[in-house]
Amino acid sequence: MLEEIQNILKSALGDDLIIKLDESSSPPTIVVLKENLLAIAHQLYKHEQLYFDMLSCITGIDNGAESETMEVVYNFYSIPFERSLMIKVMVERDEKAEVPSLTEIWKTANWQEREVYDLFGIHFNNHPDMRRILMPEDWKGHPLRKDYQDPEKYRGMNVTYDRDEESQTFEKNTINTKSEIN
């Protein structure tokens, strides 16, 4: 099945688009360069033998600081042909990480790409509304990166807290209140 998709893509777009096929993952995966992603996506959507009309899921993955890469994984499904496909794109791991947006083809990419941007800091080019979606707009950092550190405070509220310290202050406060009552 994967070979077939590969051949269709090659005949439509030329030979050197696909980096790697991966049959072991489920559903089978094609790894592509991000420069070619948009062209391939258009083919996947339009080509009458492919017709992947549903974009189910967009996942961001951070491979950690030592590997210097992040990934964006797209899960497609073709309703008429009843088959799934996974597309992977590698992104460099820095503040300028960029991937073309698929919003112009699948509208569902809008929110899912915003989520990836929010949690990983991967920018999507030509996205109509690139804002954070789950975290507050003025939050610092992208939480799902492996080296993410929680800020100590957000508006005076503790973000991370030491459980023991917290319970101690609580006890102290209760004792103080009691003595005040007495």
């Binding site: 489920s26 309703i79 699948w106 569902t108 929110w111 707009e137 005076g156 209140t177």
Partner: protein, 405 residues
């Protein structure tokens, strides 16, 4: 007494943390921005809708979500696979059994033990999942009626939902968040007499559904209020990734229980109801509720068949151990997996990446149907009346626990 600052109040905190898309100074004089939520009962949770109005006509809707963000995906990276199940419950807390089923299936697929499970385990899973699906649809239909002014069906449905919750409590020990379906098995066999109770419940519920049909779905006021409102064409629905009853109401016979045929669903006989456009146009709010009610009938059919199998073919035996295939240590081989299942709201997908070296997932993403389904609200509400916005939002049937994760 030590005074501890818990929150620094500043006037512009809200405008900085979730700024409005529309600035008041830039509006035309006939336009108005109102804020719906996050604390409003008809938003079904903590959802904030920024609505741009011209008179009573909705010009644009900007949803602001994330008020219930509990870092599910971050938590999963520091937990072993089996300990994630209680967190999965809390995604879609109205259909926790279904989410557990999807998650357990995913991890089993990674381990390659899907075919080893005893049939009795599978049938119990399907039985409890379908019970939970009915409960979830009851909340969807009941609160929807309440949103648009029909109070009675809500009480009836919550009453009947309570029967299901008590049955599931009997099974698992918890009312809503069960942790019952484990990776490779179940927490426990169903209690003695549970199958009998299911049969009684099905017999009890069938006439109640007829009542529901006549009091709500065939009610003239309800039809007037929902027919031709929020019409969602099929191609747009697919483009937006809409799944579940919403997509089926738009006329596509697409149900993962049939399409993927996971668990024992291929052995069961049930239909997939789709929207008909009977009272208005295909894919309107009435169709979406009609599909949900029909699905309850189908779920009852499945429950009857499961009970039949559990009392005859795959009987309770002394030797049966639902935990027999629960792995002591879950360490899947390295690879990427995307697993999906049909939840009451639509396609719940889990993306896993295992590194093959640890008991914890390297990455686990939940693709919640509520999150994706909610993204269509600007498209549906644009150009309609503000009162219809509430009718449309209710018919999408979102659970904010899953939207924000």
């Amino acid at each position: 007494m030590s005074t501890k600052i818990q929150y620094q109040f500043k006037k512009d905190n809200l405008t900085n943390s979730a700024p409005n898309k529309y600035k008041v100074d830039e509006l035309r004089s006939e336009e108005l921005v109102i804020n719906l939520g996050p604390q409003h009962p008809s938003t079904h949770g903590v959802l904030r809708l920024e609505v741009l109005l011209e008179g009573e006509i909705v010009k644009d809707v900007v949803p602001h979500i994330g008020y219930l963000h509990r870092c599910f995906e971050k938590h999963t990276e520091s937990l072993p696979y089996n300990q994630i199940i209680p967190y999965v419950d809390r995604l879609d807390y109205l259909g926790a059994m279904n989410s557990e089923h999807a998650y357990a299936m995913g991890v089993e697929k990674m381990l390659g033990i899907t075919d080893q499970l005893p049939k009795r385990v599978e049938y119990i899973r399907v039985l409890v999942a379908e019970l939970n699906r009915i409960a979830s649809h009851f909340v969807a239909i009941g609160t929807y009626g309440m949103d648009i002014g029909a109070l009675t069906p809500f009480f009836w449905l919550i009453r009947d939902r309570e029967h299901i919750l008590r049955m599931l409590e009997w099974v698992s020990g918890a009312r809503m968040l069960y942790n019952y379906i484990w990776v490779g098995g179940l927490f426990y066999d169903v209690p003695v007499g549970f199958e009998q109770r299911c049969t009684e419940f099905v017999a009890y519920l069938k006439p109640k559904l007829e009542e529901l049909n006549s009091v709500l779905l065939q009610n003239k006021i309800f039809i007037e209020r929902t027919a031709n409102v929020g019409v969602l064409p099929m191609d747009l629905a697919i483009n937006y990734g809409i799944t579940g009853p919403m997509l089926r109401a738009s006329g596509l016979r697409y149900d993962l229980r049939k399409v993927d045929g996971y668990s024992v669903y291929p052995e069961l006989d049930f239909d997939i109801p789709i929207g008909t456009g009977e009272k208005g146009q295909l894919g309107d709010c009435w169709d979406r509720n009609q599909v949900r009610v029909q699905e309850i009938h189908e779920s009852l059919k499945i429950i009857e068949q499961c009970v039949e199998k559990l009392t005859k073919e795959h009987k309770r035996t002394k030797e049966f151990d639902p935990q027999a295939f629960v792995p002591k240590k879950i360490r899947p081989k390295a690879g990427d997996f995307y697993v999906r299942a049909e939840n009451p709201k639509g396609e719940l997908g889990f993306f896993f990446r295992a590194d093959g070296k640890s008991d914890k997932p390297f990455r686990c993403k939940a693709r919640g149907p509520s999150f994706v389904n909610l993204s269509i609200i600007p498209e549906l509400a644009k150009g309609g009346m503000i009162a219809d916005l509430i009718a449309i939002l209710g018919s999408i049937d979102i659970v904010l626990g899953e939207v924000d994760r």
